[in-house]
Homo-oligomer: 231 residues x 2
DNA sequence: TGGCAGCCGCTTGCATGCCAGATGTTGTCC
DNA sequence: GGACAACATCTGGCATGCAAGCGGCTGCCA
């Protein structure tokens, strides 16, 4: 129950038996990281050859990674032409917001009694965010990761694996969009954290319905801010 | 807007420029079809070689198809061991029901005014089901396909591509489960069609909230029946 | 008879090579 | 000068080959 992301997890290393990491996984992580943080910008054409060369592996595993990324909607493969970084559709951001509202709202609302392990996960995520802010680390990944963890914990606590998996895919896509635009002012971040606290305490009280409302507000606000920043 | 399924569509052929169909796609369709209809039963170990031989292609495209199917949750790849047809978890059926209730209910409820093109799609699906029943064709795919079309139309009409895509994945997984068990008595099918009619007319009247209730009832009933049949 | 070591055959992982489709370019002709 | 045809060169699609991990079988030994 600890994988961060879908499929070939990149995070949550732990100290597994240290399998040498397959070349396919290497290529997958390499490309996905760049797709999500914007180093491979939407509309760019990628070539298997180039990435294979960069990584010192053959085209085969790169090709496999591309296939996976296409299935996730991050890449579009055009036969004998190349791999296009999926353009961000005008409605994508709205569509994602809707899907998140639906999913997170549902999962939050299903909380009707305190759940200590959820509370713990939320507390940890909040703490991580505060540390990031305290350290002036507003730009780093830390904040983003902790934000994901916070929201993911709510969904995961609901215990529906299928929904959780689909939710992870949503976050991946969203991360790519927000990489474009997120104007992270310190005040906003502080406010986000405050909202997280409120949400967490509603859940700790077993008040799922209230948590749902707070989450919806929170997500909408973030959405509006991002939209503003993108313009 | 006509693809039936996710990714490398298997249905909805239409008469595209008749691209020769890539070997990867061939392998993908071949395996997916068998995964969904139960000819590759849960727990079975598949081998790239065998399928490649059967299809008269090399292992490479088969391997790529397997990767895609793993991403869809239909297969689990174990390094150097083989591909295991994902076992059906005890909660999978419940999880799917919940996800469908959430998604379909949401999309249906969003209908607040009549939508002629939705009405048409629903009518067509209902008609196809009746034809199937009339022809005594209760066991055939026709009924299943039309059922999918009916429910999918409601989700697709909502216009959120991301949600629609995820919904398709849900249906794929569900099809695999119901292939196991669906006891199709004629009376039940007739009843299902009647319920479809009710849902369609609620939507035609722009009464999304009512349609939602009907859908929820409808799905729960089907779930219960399937559960009973599976025991 | 029970346990264990070594082997054999299975599997996939991945590199490589060949080929065909697609595109941009150049040279020619009007 | 503009249009078109042939070419050069890029791309990926897929077959093939080799190596290495893993499991089960066999045969030895206690």
């Amino acid at each position: 129950m600890a994988t961060t992301s879908s499929g070939r997890s990149s995070g949550g290393a732990a100290q597994a038996p240290q399998r040498p990491v397959s070349a396919t996984t290497t290529a997958y992580r390499f490309a996905k990281e760049r797709l999500l943080d914007g180093r491979f910008p939407a509309g760019q054409l990628l070539s298997e050859n180039e990435i294979a060369r960069d990584l010192g592996i053959s085209r085969t595993p790169v090709r496999e990674a591309f296939l996976l990324l296409e299935a996730e909607g991050l890449l579009e493969l055009y036969p004998r032409r190349g791999a296009l970084v999926t353009p961000i559709s005008p409605t994508e951001s709205d569509d994602l917001l809707e899907a998140r509202l639906l999913t997170e709202g549902h999962c939050a609302a299903s909380v009707t009694a305190p759940d200590p392990s959820l509370d713990l996960a939320l507390a940890e995520a909040i703490e991580a965010q505060e540390e990031a802010v305290g350290g002036g680390d507003v730009e780093s990944h830390i904040f983003t990761v902790a934000d994901r963890d916070f929201h993911r914990a709510i969904v995961a606590a609901h215990g529906n694996e299928i929904i959780t998996r689909q939710y992870d895919a949503l976050r991946d896509r969203q991360q790519r969009i927000s990489a474009l635009a997120t104007a992270r002012s310190r005040e906003r971040i502080v406010q986000f954290i405050a909202e997280h606290r409120e949400i967490a305490s509603a859940l700790a009280a077993g008040e799922g319905a209230r948590a749902r409302e707070l989450i919806e507000e929170h997500l909408r606000l973030a959405h509006e801010l991002a939209r503003g920043a993108r313009r």
